[in-house]
């Protein structure tokens, strides 16, 4: 097998314009075979547009889309061996659940009985066999969602596209479906391309994530990379919670950057290739990688005044007003309460960073 055949979907310099408005600006990405790939971004970032271009519902203004090495951007949707789970499911209201699931198979030339048999198997997979003869309107939202999934999987597509399929479900059901989807992806071995605006969902389910904003790709990587090493302000801010500090880079030596804050306080952190000496950039530090102390420690420490403590169940979030910077958020796990001190509002304290916690951002 050549390398190209290991790539399920290859998007090359794809541009999408609507009149004067450019929805997607030269997106290139390679989605691997058998991968759970997520397009993540706020609404209007172009993620759904990109998905619809792969499905064939939107044409490509410039560039190309390849499916297992074959150019597909000029094929109509019904000739592309990909299937979609739609945001509002789009189940056929006048057909039974079984006929809904069997529709794609029938269209691909399966006999009515063969389509029914296979549709029945798919309903087993999503545990809805007992509803086979009902109409979609007689099912709950969660059940309809699973029918939509079964319908899209039934014709064994080469790639499954999922357009925010969980957004209409309540939190508990959504969590359960996240795990179920991940299982089904592993069992079937089909490449999934999943669109969501929910960063937690993306982190939970994906093998890799493409973070998008304003029609551009901001960062591509495994969930951990994206969370731990955000490339720029947008990614750091969009994925999880973070604290941002404006710093000037004074020196870069042996992979470490020495920076100073507005008030002159000096900090060192890991260098980043694209950030050169003399640059004024932002530094991102995750709240759970900070801890509070009464006196400065050996780690990097910044002085401040406690504003308030917020109890959020698993954690306590403390807001601290830094002497040399903005407000910082510090998260202390509830299980650490014995070992780590909780300061009352108004108290003076130091914020300390774990080693490697601070990350310089490109812009």
């Amino acid at each position: 097998m050549t390398d190209a055949s290991q790539i399920a979907v290859d998007v090359r310099d794809a541009v999408k314009r609507y009149g004067d408005f450019t929805a997607l600006q030269k997106i290139s990405l390679s989605i691997r075979d058998n991968e759970f790939f997520t397009l993540l971004g706020p609404s209007g970032c172009g993620k759904t547009t990109l998905l619809r271009m792969i499905a064939g519902f939107e044409d490509v203004s410039e560039g190309g889309i390849f499916l297992y090495g074959e150019e597909i951007e000029n094929l109509p949707p019904h000739q592309r061996p990909v299937n979609t789970v739609f945001q509002n499911y789009a189940l056929f209201p006048h057909m039974t659940i079984l006929d809904n699931v069997g529709f794609g198979l029938e269209m691909r030339g399966a006999s009515k009985s063969e389509a029914r048999r296979r549709a029945g198997e798919m309903l087993d997979l999503v545990q809805l066999s007992q509803f086979a003869s009902r109409k979609p309107a007689q099912l709950s939202g969660g059940q309809q969602q699973r029918v939509a999934l079964a319908r899209a999987l039934a014709p064994s597509p080469k790639v499954l596209l999922l357009d925010e399929p969980l957004s209409a479900l309540d939190l508990k059901l959504r969590k359960a479906m996240q795990i179920e989807l991940k299982h089904i992806q592993r069992e079937t071995g089909i490449t999934f391309i999943f669109v969501t605006h929910d960063q937690e969902e993306a982190l939970t389910m994906s093998d890799r994530i493409a973070v998008m904003s304003a029609g551009r790709m901001q960062q591509l990587g495994a969930p951990q990379d994206i969370y731990e090493a955000p490339r720029n302000m947008f990614v750091a801010d969009f994925i999880g919670e973070t604290n941002l500090l404006e710093v000037s880079v004074d020196a870069i030596e042996a992979g470490r950057a020495t920076c100073h804050l507005g008030g002159g306080h000096e900090l060192t952190c890991n260098a980043v290739d694209e950030v050169k000496r003399g640059a004024r950039v932002h530094m991102s530090i995750r709240p759970e990688r900070l801890f509070l102390s009464e006196h400065p420690t050996e780690s990097e420490s910044l002085k401040g005044t406690i504003v308030e403590n917020i109890f959020i169940g698993t954690d306590i979030t403390t807001i601290i007003d830094l002497a040399e910077g903005p407000n910082f958020t510090v998260r202390t796990s509830n299980s650490d309460r014995g070992t780590k001190r909780i300061f009352e509002p108004g108290a003076q304290a130091y914020v300390n960073m774990e080693h490697g916690a601070a990350r310089l951002l490109v812009d």
Partner: protein
Amino acid sequence: MAGGAASGGSAASDTYAKARHWLLLPSWVVVGIFVLAPVLMMMVYSFLTKEFRGGVIWEFSLSAYDQFFFDRGLFGDEPAKIDWTYIAIFWRSIWQAGAATILSLLIGFPTAYFIATRPEKNRAIWVFLITIPYWVNLLIRTVSMKFLLRDQGPLNDFLVNIGLIDTPLHIINTNLAVQLGLFYSYLPFMVLPIYASVERYNFALSEAAADLYATKWVTLRRILLPAVKPGVIAGCILVFVPSLGAFLAPDLLGGAKNFMIGSLIEEQFKGNAGNWPFGAAISMILLTMVLTILLIYARQQRQAEDLS
């Protein structure tokens, strides 16, 4: 429920029930005066004896119905045979109305689909444009059709000029002319209900079908049409029923050979030659037929729904 609240509530609902009776009164008056009374009058007239200079004699008679179905009268001295003259007119009317309905559907469906898929702010304008010709009186529109369709009329001139035909087509005074006239008279009744249901259609369903390998044609037949079926049926009924009883288009465009029920009824009431009981009887037969068709359809719909 607490006792006080319950009695208070029921007193209020009694008042409400009484008020509701009175509030319904205007509808009953309208239905009574404009629907029930005329139908009753027509029924009564159909069982009366005709007066020669129009009008009726108040004497019970079945001769109007007798005249419709039999040649020498069922109760005469000689054996009666079924008279096909009027039944043939009925049959031709059904055929003509059916053809006009199919023509309206073929033109009206794409039109409605086109309007429903325009950007939302433009749809009202398109609907408005569809209705503009109908501000002109039906009689004037039908007479204009007569001029358009003439052998030396603009339609034939156009077709000859673009070289599609050599000699003018003879359209006027044919079945086709009547069908075209009916089609043009009632087209908006086809377009508007279909437009209303296509507008409500969830186009994501068409995308889903295309995604599942359905061609455009299959998507239309298996997904779109079932979803907009109520609008299509409403449109067909709204075109078929008035076409069946129409008399302007058959009179003006069809000529003497293409007589339809509407003209037959009209003739019974117009002038001195009229026969009011016969006209009323024909109307009753037409009404019964239309109602029977509608009831059969409604029943089948209900059965289909019960099955699913």
